[in-house]
C-alpha cells in the first residue's frame, strides 16, 4: 500500500503542477529569482574573497640589510623569522639578485645605469621579503625586528631599514578595509538570501491559499494529513528542481557574458571559469536550497488549512 500511495501522491502532484500551469509558471519564476540571488551571492562572495586575498598578498614588508652584512647572519634572521607563528613566507633576495632586479627595472633609464657602472661596486644591500599570514600581524613582525634578534655575531645591527615603518599607515588602513568588507559582505549575503527566501515562501503560500477549499473537501472525505500534504510537497519539489535548472542556465549565460568584463576589474578572476570549475558545488547549493524552500513552504502552508 505504501508504494501505491507514494505513486498516487506523485502522480497527483505532477498533474496539479501541469494543470495549474499559470500558477506553476509564476511560482517557478519567483523561485528562479530567489535561487538566482542565492547563486549570485555565492559568486560575489567568491569575487570579494579573491580580490581581498589578492589585496592581502600585495601587502608585505622588505627588510633591507646593510651592504656589509654577512649572508650567514641574514640567513640566521631568515630562520628566526620563519619560526614566528605570524609569518607565512620569507624570501631571501641576495645583493646580486637585488642588483639584477634593479637593473631590469631601470633598463630604459641610461643615466641610472651609467651611474651604477661608474660606482664600480654593488651599492644595494640584500633583502628579506616577509609575508605575514594576516595583514594585522605585521606590527608584531616589525617589533621582533626591533629587538636584539637581528644583531650580527659582532653585536652590531645589520638592518639598514624596514619599510614597514614607512608603509605603516597604508597597511593599517588596508587591514581595516579588508576586515569591514568581509563583515559587510556576510551581512549583505544573509540579508538578500533571507529576503528572497521569504518572497518565494510567500508565493507558494499564496498558491496553496487558492486551494484551501479543496483541502477542506479532502479533509471531509477522510483523507489523512500525509495524503493531502503529499501532492503539495511534490509540487514544491518540482518548483525547486525546475527553478534550479532555469537558474543554472541563466547563470551560465550571465557569467559567460560577464566573464571578460569582470576580469578587467578583478585581476585574475574570471566568473565564467569559476562557474565551470565549481559547477557541482554551486548546482548542489542551488538545488538543495530550491527543494528545501519548496518543501518547507508547502508543508507549512498546507498545515494551516488542515485543522478541520
Amino acid at each position: 500500500m505504501f508504494w501505491t500511495k507514494l505513486k498516487r501522491v506523485a502522480r497527483t502532484g505532477f498533474f496539479n503542477f501541469w494543470r495549474d500551469s499559470t500558477v506553476s509558471f509564476a511560482s517557478v519564476l519567483v523561485m528562479t529569482i530567489t535561487l538566482l540571488v542565492i547563486g549570485l551571492i555565492s559568486f560575489s562572495s567568491a569575487v570579494l574573497d579573491t580580490s581581498l586575498a589578492e589585496l592581502r598578498n600585495k601587502i608585505d614588508i622588505d627588510i633591507t640589510f646593510v651592504v656589509s652584512a654577512e649572508e650567514e647572519d641574514i640567513l640566521n634572521i631568515k630562520h628566526s623569522l620563519e619560526s614566528l607563528q605570524e609569518v607565512f613566507l620569507v624570501t631571501y633576495i641576495s645583493r646580486e639578485e637585488a642588483l639584477t632586479a634593479f637593473k631590469e627595472r631601470h633598463s630604459s633609464d641610461q643615466s641610472i645605469l651609467s651611474a651604477l657602472d661608474e660606482l664600480g661596486e654593488n651599492p644595494l644591500g640584500a633583502v628579506l621579503n616577509v609575508k605575514a599570514k594576516d595583514p594585522s600581524q605585521y606590527a608584531s613582525v616589525a617589533e621582533f625586528l626591533e629587538g636584539d634578534n637581528t644583531l650580527s655575531s659582532d653585536g652590531i645591527t645589520i638592518i639598514d631599514r624596514v619599510n614597514y615603518f614607512q608603509n605603516k599607515k597604508a597597511i593599517d588602513k588596508l587591514t581595516r578595509i579588508i576586515a569591514s568588507a568581509d563583515q559587510l559582505g556576510l551581512a549583505l549575503t544573509l540579508f538578500f538570501a533571507l529576503i528572497s527566501i521569504l518572497i518565494a515562501f510567500n508565493t507558494i503560500r499564496l498558491t496553496i491559499y487558492i486551494a484551501k477549499d479543496e483541502i477542506s473537501v479532502m479533509r471531509l472525505v477522510g483523507a489523512s494529513t500525509t495524503y493531502i500534504q503529499g501532492p503539495f510537497v511534490v509540487v514544491g519539489i518540482i518548483y525547486g528542481v525546475t527553478a534550479c535548472l532555469l537558474t543554472l542556465l541563466l547563470l551560465l549565460l550571465i557569467t559567460y557574458w560577464l566573464g571578460n568584463t569582470i576580469e578587467n576589474f578583478f585581476v585574475g578572476f574570471n566568473v565564467f571559469s569559476y562557474y565551470l570549475r565549481h559547477f557541482l558545488e554551486i548546482s548542489s547549493i542551488i538545488l538543495v536550497s530550491g527543494v528545501l524552500i519548496g518543501v518547507f513552504s508547502s508543508i507549512l502552508a498546507v498545515r494551516k488549512y488542515l485543522k478541520i
Partner: protein, 226 residues
C-alpha cells in the same frame, strides 16, 4: 444508530447556534431536517462530521462519542459518511473520474477496484458520458450528480446532504431527490437538510423541524409546515 444527546453549540461571540438538541436516527432511516436559514441545520451536520465540537452534550455513532476520537479515527469515521453539499465542492483540478477516484484512494482501495467501481457509480447517476470532463465544464445538476457519485462510491453507511438542491432548477431537484430515495432504499441512512418545501412534501418520510437552534417538531411522516 446516531444519537444527538442534549447538544448545544454556542460560538465565542455568544451567538447560540444549537440549544439542547435531542433526537436519534435509526439505521437505514431517511430523515429530513428542515427550518429557515440560521435554524442550525448546517451546524448540526458540521458537528456530526467533527468539523466542530459541541459546547455541551455529545453525538454518538454506534455508541461511540464522535468528539472523543483522535485524528486518525476521525478520518476513518468520515470515510463511512458520504457528503453532498449545496455548492457541490468538487475538486476543480480533477476530472469527474479523478474526483470520485480520490475518495476511493483515500479509503485505501486498490487501483483495480477504482477502475471497476468509478464507471459503475457514474452510470448509476447517469453521467457515464462525462467521465473525463472537468467540473467547470458541467451544469449545476451534473455537478451535483458527480458529488452524489463521489459520496456513494465507498458504500457509506450514512449519506449527509446539506441543501443539495439549493442551486438547482425544479427538474434537477426532482432527479436528485429520486436518487437519494433510491440510495436509501438500498439500505443507506440519509440525512437531508433543506428548506425546500416541495421536496419534503414529496418524500413523505420523517421530518425534524428546527427553529433558532432548537428542535420544534419531529414527525414520523412529516410535511414542511403543519
Amino acid at each position: 444508530m446516531i444519537v444527538f444527546d442534549r447538544v448545544s453549540k454556542i460560538y465565542s461571540d455568544n451567538s447560540v447556534a444549537l440549544r439542547e438538541v435531542n433526537f436519534s436516527i435509526e439505521p437505514k432511516e431517511f430523515i429530513s431536517i428542515v427550518g429557515p436559514s440560521g435554524a442550525g441545520k448546517t451546524t448540526l451536520l458540521k458537528l456530526f462530521l467533527a468539523e466542530e465540537k459541541p459546547t455541551e452534550g455529545a453525538i454518538y455513532y454506534d455508541s461511540t462519542n464522535i468528539h472523543t476520537l483522535n485524528k486518525k479515527d476521525i478520518n476513518k469515521f468520515r470515510r463511512k459518511v458520504g457528503m453532498i453539499f449545496q455548492d457541490f465542492r468538487l475538486l476543480p483540478n480533477k476530472t469527474v473520474y479523478e474526483n470520485i477516484a480520490f475518495t476511493m484512494e483515500v479509503a485505501g482501495r486498490t487501483d483495480e477496484e477504482i477502475e471497476s467501481d468509478v464507471p459503475h457509480v457514474l452510470e448509476l447517476v447517469d453521467l457515464a458520458s462525462k467521465v473525463w470532463n472537468f467540473p467547470h465544464e458541467l451544469s449545476g445538476g451534473e455537478k451535483q450528480r458527480v458529488a452524489i457519485a463521489r459520496a456513494l462510491v465507498n458504500e457509506p453507511e450514512v449519506i449527509i446532504a446539506d441543501e443539495p438542491t439549493g442551486n438547482l432548477d425544479p427538474a434537477n431537484t426532482y432527479d436528485i431527490v429520486q436518487i437519494l430515495k433510491k440510495i436509501n432504499d438500498l439500505g443507506t441512512t440519509v440525512i437531508l437538510a433543506t428548506h425546500n418545501k416541495g421536496i419534503i412534501d414529496l418524500l413523505k418520510r420523517r421530518v425534524v423541524a428546527m427553529e433558532a437552534g432548537r428542535v420544534v417538531r419531529d414527525d414520523k411522516i412529516g410535511k414542511y409546515n403543519e
